[in-house]
Symmetry: C2
Subunit: 413 residues, 2 copies
Amino acid sequence: MKNETDARLRARAARVIPGGMYGHQSVTKLPAGFPQFFAKAEGTYLWDSDGNKYLDFMCGYGPNLFGYGRPEIDAAFTQQAKRIDTATGPSEVMVELAEKFTRQIMHADWAMFCKNGTDATSMALMIARAYRGRKKILLAKGAYHGSAPWCTPMPAGTVPDDRNHFIYYSYNDVNSLELAIDEAGDDLAGVFASPFKHDVIVDQEMPSPDYARRARDLCDKNDALLIIDDVRAGFRLTRDSSWSSLSIAPDLSCWGKSIANGHPISALLGSEKAKEAAGQIYATGSFWFSAAPMAASIATLKLIEETDYLERTIELAEEMRSGLTEISQRHNVPLNQTGPAQMPLITIPDAEGKADLEKGYAFSSEMIRRGVYFHPWHNMFMNAAMTKDDISQTLDAADASLAAVKDTIVAKP
Amino acid sequence: MKNETDARLRARAARVIPGGMYGHQSVTKLPAGFPQFFAKAEGTYLWDSDGNKYLDFMCGYGPNLFGYGRPEIDAAFTQQAKRIDTATGPSEVMVELAEKFTRQIMHADWAMFCKNGTDATSMALMIARAYRGRKKILLAKGAYHGSAPWCTPMPAGTVPDDRNHFIYYSYNDVNSLELAIDEAGDDLAGVFASPFKHDVIVDQEMPSPDYARRARDLCDKNDALLIIDDVRAGFRLTRDSSWSSLSIAPDLSCWGKSIANGHPISALLGSEKAKEAAGQIYATGSFWFSAAPMAASIATLKLIEETDYLERTIELAEEMRSGLTEISQRHNVPLNQTGPAQMPLITIPDAEGKADLEKGYAFSSEMIRRGVYFHPWHNMFMNAAMTKDDISQTLDAADASLAAVKDTIVAKP
């Protein structure tokens, strides 16, 4: 596999970018065969800077919902950009997009737009505190809500004071949630929850109805806000906010990544009772009012509403999941496939059932050599441009990959 | 002046957007005649949603440096977007852009890219703290560095703990700076400075060489980082970082707004000594690695390097400033024109010399009725698409506007 260009670019990057790359798209913590730089994207495929082609199961870490370069969405972006994009004020599309979100997301009575997922979660934090003038915020241990000082997963550059009023509970653990609520006492501002447990490395978990219902009830009882961070999973589980399948409406929901199929925009949606507090905080950004990504988001929401993208994606995802199960059993190499099939985390467990990263690296290295971009420790994403042929190709690659790594893996039944 | 569409859009927005609009582009604190929504942007002109045309002196609050829709820049964006934009990894343009920044900005040995100006300032904050593991950060009172909890100008939704380790000094006041440094003691991590004092409402001030030199010396003496927040003023004073005209190099500089002429990208640049700390923090965002805005930024940096955009803009700006002085004297209505001519704050002073907002509102209302978008309390921005005719039109409008408001203004010589 050619990688000369990638190697050359990495050497150049090391000189002018700290660590050679930073953030979630750095491949420092991926096996050696993973390319750092890409040159082309189309549908569900990526080409790296050396011309190697990949069936991409990361979808840009979420933004790609309908396939890279989906024509209707990009046309909406381009047509809007020709008229007006970033200017001294917003455009009519901002109102249209807010109206569309409030029609399509049941709990939402209003919308605010921003750029990063972290913008949406930080605004949710501020609105929850402004709501009743309280300070305590509950977060699930290990959950990712962004990279600002209050939530970044790595402590470098933060101070303990950044988290003075955060209380951590265990996802899906009603008792732990209740203890955290008690600890907050009459200073409880809000409770953050991921739509499902999608922490890195560890098995994904769907929310237990008990836990989700208790979170809603306790927020109501304490007049605090329930915040669902749908930045990563939004529109991948359902067309509404992700706990709608449990008949639970949050007060605030955070959105990003997929809402304009890769064009830069994120959103905070809220219910009427949080609107006044939302109007009190000051949050803004140079490009938050840009019109072209909003037009792209309207086109994306239209496809979400009008097509069977979700059912088709889930069908393919389940086909892949059962195919991988069959292959795993045939080779007697265990695979842990957790989370929703269309947002799978796929790891190879050790004797205790925990992800064995070394084995996972070996497997994903073989997959990438075969042109399938499988991530060894982050949940993956499927998109609506994927086909049955793509799944067949993936299963063929998985079959060959597991065969290739079998000797180096002590398979445990 | 027609405003039916704007009024209709505002009514719709009030239902689905908190406060009807939020952030720096809300016109809540502007006189009644200012439109909230725009439909078209071209060169240095804006059209509101009712079709009224404006010569725009806000330039999107900064992003518009070369005129809206500058062809070379938008072509670079579009061509890159056709190949790859937001994907599972960055593209070669990211390395090219980092190299170009480090060549053109003298102090910079490396670059990191993000989306909001606040991202760049928050990363600077974290890097300064990571650099020697210290906590105290100095900020000038009243300076704007973004809208995150640690820096937002409005307290709603923040907690006092967000600012436990910030010490505030007075811009341009060496004594106040020294006292703040003393207070930080051996826990000094970094000192933020705006390139010039561009706070809202109050007179702008250029940095005194004494103050700027002392900030650099004290950072060196204490092994702390000097951070210039060039988000707003970058490339509008000089082609290098803004204190280069004083022969002062910061350790970190924050950029945004204008660096891709309106396409969404911001940047943090740093010197070699801060590179290791920069590699330690975790900061990232869904769209930070998108290639198209980086291609647009390369095209923008090329125009900055190769054209006389800056000299032409300053020449027109000074023509406008002296024209306004003449008109002001002729009508016997004082105008305070402060800051660099190309980033002017223009207010009407009261008896004590402070901005009289009521009078400023009256003046800017008359200007906007005549098709010139003048802001009453925020610094404005000129761009390289402006012409001598635009300045003549502006001066004619200012002449008529001052005549119109003269009766309502008690002019004080």
